[in-house]
């Protein structure tokens, strides 16, 4: 099975966000970067599919700065076979520009399955996967928590408000991963060593004109620190009184 996984380098979810001097982007000083957690589910799924098939190749592809090579190496250490970086100083704010660049790279690759995370935890745009599918004219299922593949077809489950949709689609397809799909493995030392020797191709990103412009990034107002009502169960009646009379939420 030939599988491509689109991945992204993002700030760790524990990172504190500060606005950079330009007023439009993240101040990356001191920020730890990781493989986007939803992309980790996508990489794991690809590896499991390849292992189940007994044959195949898993390609990981990223759009981002040179440091994204580390992110790709993480996926290679997990077990992916080769990596491609479409390098740019920054990831375009226009998701369609990203999807177009990925589509151009993946179009003639003959992939049976293209996996992405359902979103990146930095810009939370939820869009590159389904846009990529449209551009490649492939079926697509997003935010998948369960995936079954048979010859030429797939069945996926995705959470919707008040239930779970069971979706059927033909292959090849684009599937975006949600938490719950699998348990991503940790790269073993052997994998980390092997990853250093795996092919990683770096090309300049050929992105078209962006259809959005970032005007500014601001931090939301801090919440006002509240009060400790008291200690232990004895404080509960006072808490309920405050919720009813002061906060008016009961």
């Amino acid at each position: 099975m030939k599988i491509a996984v689109c991945i992204k380098r993002v700030p760790d979810s524990e990172a504190r966000v500060k606005v950079a001097g330009d007023g439009t982007s993240l101040d990356a000083a001191g920020v730890k970067f990781i493989l986007n957690p939803y992309d980790e589910f996508a990489v794991e799924e690809a590896l499991q599919r390849k292992e189940a098939a007994g044959t195949g190749e898993v390609t990981v592809i990223a759009v981002g700065p040179a440091a994204s090579q580390e992110t790709i190496r993480t996926a290679l250490a997990m077990g992916a076979d080769r990596g491609v970086l479409l390098q740019a100083d920054a990831v375009p704010a226009d998701g369609l520009a990203v999807a177009r660049a990925l589509a151009a790279e993946l179009r003639d690759g003959g992939y049976d399955l293209i996996l992405c995370g359902k979103m990146a935890i930095d810009d939370q745009s939820y869009q590159v996967g389904p846009m990529l599918a449209e551009l490649l004219d492939l079926p697509c299922v997003t935010a998948v928590t369960k995936l079954e593949l048979a010859a030429g077809t797939g069945t996926a489950e995705r959470e919707v408000e008040g239930g779970v949709e069971v979706v059927e689609f033909p292959l090849p397809a684009v599937v975006t991963a949600d938490k719950g799909l699998n348990e991503p493995r940790y790269p073993a030392l052997k994998g980390i060593m092997a990853a250093k020797k795996k092919p990683l191709e770096v090309k300049p990103l050929a992105a078209g004109a962006a259809g959005v412009a970032v005007l500014g990034m601001t931090l939301p107002p801090e919440r006002q620190e509240g009060k400790i009502v008291g200690e232990g169960a004895a404080a509960v009646p006072e808490l309920v009184r405050l919720l009813r009379e002061e906060a008016k939420v009961l």
Binding site: V160, E161, R223, E225, G226
Partner: protein
């Protein structure tokens, strides 16, 4: 002057309530652009509630019906929406950033060859262009974006655009389409057990963390949630979801759901940054934790320092009493 296409949602022939928010957001844009709001719903027959959209400012309600559109059919619906937007020369296309809208909007944008401003919390028009605000890094920051392409495709975060009554004598139109539903089909929808609220939609959320000590103790939170009489959902911290104590659908935080209920009760949750990011826009936050130095108390409006195994049952009892 340009019109706004408001793409609304139905499930099994009934309009979904979030549609009122979509029309409200679309109305705001249409007023600024000097145009009309055209509500569009794709279904397999008449949609209950579609005739109500004039109340929220729709000038025209179009129901497009076709085979295979009873449930969400991503490819066919995206084709219908893109076709209508092109034919109507709309300046903006608005939908909800629900599970369906998050899937549909990028497809529509890609078909139209324009970007998507997703999950926005504010929309405006500045100098003729649509400008949106959208939370990034799970709400740790807000980004203001100007959409320079036309139409501007925008999805609205649910529960943010409070439906506003703007009565219009909307014209209704039903159009049959021969557009195929597409290759991706929803075979069934497994409904959540009756009475279970989605943590992202519930007005009250009671969340638990490691402090609960073991999965069985979440019964305490389920009882507390039940005391709120069908208004509350149970949430969970990443630590307990990763440990397999609770389903991932309940996780609140940067790698889970972002919630903004009226009341958020954090029980035995220390308050990691990624958790705080997911619930900081809640109206009122209550924290119950035995560690008085836990960061959660910095984010909370009201805190009780103490043993949750004593505090929570007492709270359940008092809430039952308060609700009579």
């Amino acid at each position: 002057m340009s019109h706004v296409l408001a793409v609304v949602e139905q499930r099994d022939g009934a309009l979904r309530k979030v549609s009122h928010e979509v029309v409200t957001g679309a109305r705001r844009l249409a007023d600024a652009l000097g145009g009309e709001v055209h509500a569009l719903v794709v279904a397999s027959g008449p949609v209950t509630g579609a005739d109500q959209l004039g109340r929220f400012g729709a000038d025209r309600v179009v129901t497009v019906t076709g085979d295979g559109f009873a449930r969400y059919a991503p490819e066919g619906m995206a084709a219908v929406v893109a076709e209508r937007a092109t034919a109507g020369g709309h300046g903006a296309v608005v939908c909800a950033a629900t599970a369906t809208g998050k899937d549909l909007a990028p497809r529509v944008a890609a078909k139209l060859g324009v970007p998507l401003a997703s999950d926005v919390t504010d929309v405006a028009v500045e100098g003729g262009a649509v400008v949106v605000t959208r939370p990034v890094y799970a709400g740790k920051a807000n980004l203001r974006l100007k959409v320079t392409a036309t139409p501007a495709v925008v999805s609205l975060r649910p529960n943010v655009f409070t439906p506003l009554e703007r009565p219009k004598a909307a014209t209704a139109e039903a159009v049959a389409t021969s557009t195929p539903a597409g290759r991706v089909t929803v075979r069934e929808i497994k409904a959540a057990p009756a009475g279970t609220l989605d943590v992202a939609e519930a007005p009250i959320v009671v969340s638990g963390g490691r402090g609960l000590k073991e999965p069985a103790n979440f019964k305490l939170l389920e009882d507390l949630a039940a005391a709120f009489g069908g208004q509350a959902a149970v949430g969970a911290s990443r630590a307990v979801v990763d440990a397999g104590w609770r389903g991932h659908g309940e996780q609140v935080g940067q790698t889970g759901k972002t919630v903004s209920p009226t009341l958020y009760v954090a029980v035995g949750i220390s308050g990691a940054i990624q958790h705080l990011a997911g619930m900081r826009t809640s109206k009122v936050i209550v924290a119950i934790n035995k560690d008085k130095d836990a960061p959660i108390f910095k984010a909370a409006d009201y805190g009780i320092v103490g043993d949750l195994f004593e505090v929570v049952p007492k709270l359940t009892e008092e809430i039952r009493k308060a609700r009579g």
